[in-house]
Symmetry: C2
């Protein structure tokens, strides 16, 4: 698993481009994981869309993670599921998906991150690191200190999410994050592939420096 650039598709922030277009462009720019996040579609539409994205991620040999909807993840045999604190509790998610699929859990505090580790998470996303317009109802940002505290507390890979962009990615990696997860910095960019590529290069350079 390479956590370097985790791109979350969000059709609403993509200026009319579909999940599929966003995923393909992000993969071309070097996304190492795609998360499919969608709250509006019917279950049938979620499955059909997830299945098409999975063809792309399979071809690129990277994992597809489904946000929240464990039923959709199981139905399309996605590589994993990501749960937030408003979604299914991680212990139960782990029971239902079995030991082999990837389980990601959002954590905004050290306590939540330690709980996620205990509950069987494969990675935690420290979220949000910075304030972000993407999730207006998100918890208080961890800031760089909070991110560092989470990295130090758990033995899992930590992905930083929330307001990450080319400007701050270097300091985020310097805190020990294994990678960055982005929505708007990539999916809202006029050129998604170019934005992904620049961000990936920034993280790669930061990793060498770290």
């Amino acid at each position: 698993m390479d956590w370097i650039l985790y791109v979350i598709t969000d059709a609403k922030l993509s200026h009319g481009r579909s999940h599929l277009e966003v995923a393909q462009a992000a993969i071309e720019g070097g996304a190492s994981i795609i998360q499919f996040r969608e709250k509006e579609m019917t279950t049938r539409q979620l499955m059909e869309t997830a299945r098409k994205i999975k063809e792309l991620t399979d071809k690129a040999n990277i994992p597809l993670i489904v946000n929240d909807r464990l039923d959709v993840a199981l139905a399309v045999d996605a590589d994993g599921v990501h749960v937030g604190q408003d979604d299914m509790p991680a212990t139960l998610a782990r029971q239902l998906i079995g030991p082999h699929k990837i389980l990601g859990v959002s954590a905004s505090t050290v306590e939540e991150a330690l709980q996620a580790e205990k509950d069987g998470a494969d990675y935690v996303s420290a979220s949000p690191v910075f304030t972000t317009p993407t999730k207006p109802d998100a918890p208080s940002p961890t800031g760089l200190e909070g991110l560092r505290a989470i990295v130090e507390a758990v033995n899992l890979p930590v992905i930083a999410i929330g307001g990450i962009n080319e400007e701050n990615a270097t300091e985020v990696i310097a805190c020990g994050a294994d990678g960055v997860a982005v929505i708007s910095a990539v999916v809202s960019a006029p050129d998604i592939t170019a934005a992904a590529r620049r961000l990936r290069e920034t993280v790669e350079a930061a990793r060498k420096g770290a």
Copy 2:
């Protein structure tokens, strides 16, 4: 299994009463199955609500069916799941819930009902039988002839849904339906328990006549 009175909770149609209040009142009036249907809540809220309803249905020794959300059904160990034509395909739902849980499938045509039977459904809901304000995007009503055709085509229990009330329940049962499913006729009533009781008595009388 007694299909006589299948009540679907819908918080939006319940004039401020919660899923839990609606379920409890319907059970007191003789509901023989409760279906929890909710499209707005977070997964965590869905689970918490479903779990509380399950305490009520367990106590009453009747099944709890979760609409659409197989993840929630599995998480709370509901008795079954109901899928519509916009939800997970029935074959896949059957695979994921295993052979023991109840699988219900909505069918508006004989073809859909036969497919549901082939796909492993335990019952089909012929829906909608009449036009209903509850589901503005529903397919064309089957009418009584369409309901009768579905009853004759499949070897499964058939539950009639869509615009069913005390006035038309008798002719619906005369078409061979095993029971009636209702939303507004019960959950929107000023006295849910009384409405459920009257409808149940109507269906019981109709069964004796049929």
